[in-house]
């Protein structure tokens, strides 16, 4: 019994995490949109609007373009599944979930790359020009985002001596890391990658309807009904997943432990607070900056890569001086 209970609790924590993840992701997107509208002085759509949007797509007939191949339905599914699996691995309110050993950062990068590849193939699927334009831009962004993220992981791995998100969160929560320049640089690099991956301003405009400047939306133009639902849901989940990831790595303080039920409520409140805080900061950042030209984005991410590398170099120097 003594051995089974922690495992059961870990599974239970995972279940609670999964339910909250899937249930709250549209709400988070709605909250961000509402906040953004307020910041712009508009009333904005209700917070529940994304749920209605998803329900509307559920009730719509799914149209299949006549030039689509048989692989057409699988791209949204692959995109949705890989983002979902990534979401199930990243701790939200408690560390030590049953999926914790799987949450290696490199596996996560792989899952995000899989989602990106599926979306790009979805854009190329019907052979219309906007999808291809979106896919080729996404390919460019991906190159720099992946390089920047890998360099940044090095900083985490060096400080925390772990490469799983769970291990990093535990190390940052329990160890007395303190505020370091390296972590500040790593945070800046991670934020730049997160903005690119979730398709927010300044790299992409989630509310954009001008086809020439779209990236993520351009690849989904030919999708409708339940396939579009999967893509849109995946985009909402991706926002939630990245916010949870940044919360778990940079703000893991007082995160609960899966084996200790009494620590869950505080962890849950804290997680909600982190998401709420980020949902306020993100729109404020978005309205204060303009969307970049496509070829400025590699420079933006190149700076992120440089900051990530600098974070590592600072650590090396600090260790040399310290020893």
């Amino acid at each position: 019994m003594a051995q089974i209970l922690p495992v059961l609790l870990a599974v239970l924590a995972n279940l609670v995490h999964a339910v909250l993840l899937f249930a709250l992701a549209p709400g988070l997107m709605g909250g961000v949109s509402k906040m953004r509208a307020w910041a712009l002085g508009r009333r904005g759509a209700p917070v529940m609007q994304p749920y209605r949007q998803l329900y509307k797509l559920l009730r719509k007939t799914t149209l299949i373009p006549e030039t689509a191949t048989d692989a057409y339905p699988y791209w949204p599914l692959a995109c949705f599944l890989s983002v979902s699996v990534a979401g199930l691995l990243i701790p939200s309110f408690a560390t030590g979930m049953v999926t914790a050993p799987l949450s290696d950062f490199i596996t996560l990068i792989g899952l995000f790359a899989l989602a990106r590849a599926a979306t790009m193939l979805g854009g190329l699927e019907t052979g219309f020009s906007f999808g291809g334009a979106g896919a080729q831009r996404e390919a460019l962004y991906g190159v720099f985002a992946e390089g920047a993220l890998l360099v940044t992981i090095l900083t985490f791995a060096l400080i925390a001596h772990a490469t799983t998100v769970d291990g990093i969160a535990v190390a940052f929560r329990d160890g007395h890391i303190g505020i370091s320049v390296s972590l500040a640089f790593a945070l800046a690099a991670t934020l730049a990658v997160a903005l690119t991956e979730t398709g927010r301003i300044p790299t992409d405009n989630p509310a954009g309807h001008l086809e020439l400047s779209m990236v993520h939306e351009a690849m989904l133009l030919e999708y409708s009904g339940r396939y579009l639902l999967l893509f849109e849901y995946a985009a909402m989940l991706r926002l939630m997943v990245w916010m949870s990831l940044i919360g778990a790595v940079f703000l893991p303080f007082w995160m609960g432990r899966a084996g200790d039920v009494l620590s869950w409520p505080l962890g849950l409140v804290l997680w909600a607070g982190k998401l709420g805080g980020m949902a306020v900061i993100l729109p404020l950042f978005e309205i204060s900056s303009a969307k970049m030209r496509v070829f400025r984005v590699p420079e933006f991410l190149g700076v992120a890569m440089l900051l990530g590398a600098l974070a590592g170099v600072f650590l090396f120097v600090a260790e040399r001086i310290g020893s």
């Binding site: 799914t62 599944l81 890989s82 190329l124 699927e125 052979g127 339940r226």
Partner: protein
Amino acid sequence: MFGLPGAGMQLRLDPLSLLFLVLLTPQMVAGALAGEARSLTYWLFALGMVLAVTAASAFTLIFGFELMSAASWLLVLRGDQKPATLYVGIAIFSAACLVPALFLPASSLAFVLVVLGAGAKAGLAPLHSWLPKAHPAPPAGVSALMSGGMIKVALSVIIREGFITLDPALQPWWGNVLMTAGVASVFIGALRAMLETEMKVLLACSTVEHAGLIAVGLGLALRAKAMGDASLTALGLEGALLCALAHALYKPLLFIGAGEVKHATGTASLDWLGGLMRSMPRLSGLMLLAASGMAALPLGPGFAPEFLLLHAALAAAGTGGIVARIGFSALLAVLGLSAALALGAAVKLIGVGFLGRPRSLQAAAAEEPGGLALAGMALLGVLMVPLALVPGEVLRLMAPVVRELAPNAALAPLGYAPLPLLGLGLMVAVGAGFGLHRFGVRGTRGAATWMGGFGKPPVWLPFGDPATQPTATGFAEPVARAIGRGVLPDDADPAELLVLAPLYRLHLKGVRLAEKLRRATIRERLAFIFAALVLFLLALGLLGGG
């Protein structure tokens, strides 16, 4: 049998040679099924590879290696004359380095010669620029075996010499040499794969990338072995060997598939293909599976090696001197960039070639290839499944090889478990399927594709105007603009400008000099002989007198 008088051929079957035999067999079968079964040269080529990986003596190794080079040269000649000359030049260079290296005592010079000789054959930068020209030239079955097999044979020579034969003289900087060559190949290969439009050239560039990845892993392991880091040695070796195994399955599949596409449509240029998923569904499915390996996507066969190599680079950056650690950070950045470039190349291969609308009538009318070629591809595809789903078990089977190469290596269990990930994915899929089925509107309806505002195509273009569809060139354009034109000026490989062009100029000068000597008049020749005689007598007199 052949062999040196009195000694003969000496073969051996230790774990390393066994691994390489296992790695070569499926692709030989697949290549034979793809139409090479009746070619004597093909089987000589295969025999050369088998001899080279099982050789127990230097003579046998050189015999096998050169048999492989000569047979593959004949096979390249069958496809195209032009790259064959370059190819034979590289083969001679590689032999010139390898033959003395194998008879030298264990020393750094021997290692450098082995890396030059075998590295040129494996397509490591800066001696890689022949590979994207020579590998696509012969028929697909041969290309498959050249890319999937010959590269590995050359790397196996580096492994055997570096880790076993030359072990007594092992130095940490040997690893740095391999890593530098490897990371340069990774970046150039991935970038060129992203920019190329011809399918087989794209695949050959991706081979350069994967040869580089294997070399990076070997270099990390070699350096760690020299410095006595047991766990990093194991990580690097496991990554390199698993990468070799995975690449030996998906790259031949892709090459054979590209050959079948060329056979069915008359071209392998992605700019003339499109929509093949419709006309060749089975071939396209296999190509998609193999492309997921090439792009190192999770749940595909290529992810576990990439995972191990990235972890090895992370671990290497964690210890050691400050300059080395900054170097390893840069290595990580380049590996990340290249992984995403490889993903872009794979998406381009599938998205432009197999999805979308046909860009030519031939592409629209393509037919599924014959059963034999498809069976060979399916064999490779089935063998990829264990590598994709239970890479940890495959690594456990490979443990004797790692122990043979580095007896003190500390093997750790693999941190990436695809089966639980697959389980999680299936659970979400069942949940999503239930939700969509229970609450959603079922069924689908066909609809006209929105053409993005372009006019109605003429009637003789049933699949719409191909010019309104993004091409492979267009797909690569943002990357070409942001990175490509800076690294590859005038679309030429930097290795060609820096290595081959000066060599060519030197060659030209030599030829002119030789021609001048040949055309010398009788007086000039007599004067030359007379001068030589005088000089000889002078030297003899001075030396004899002294």
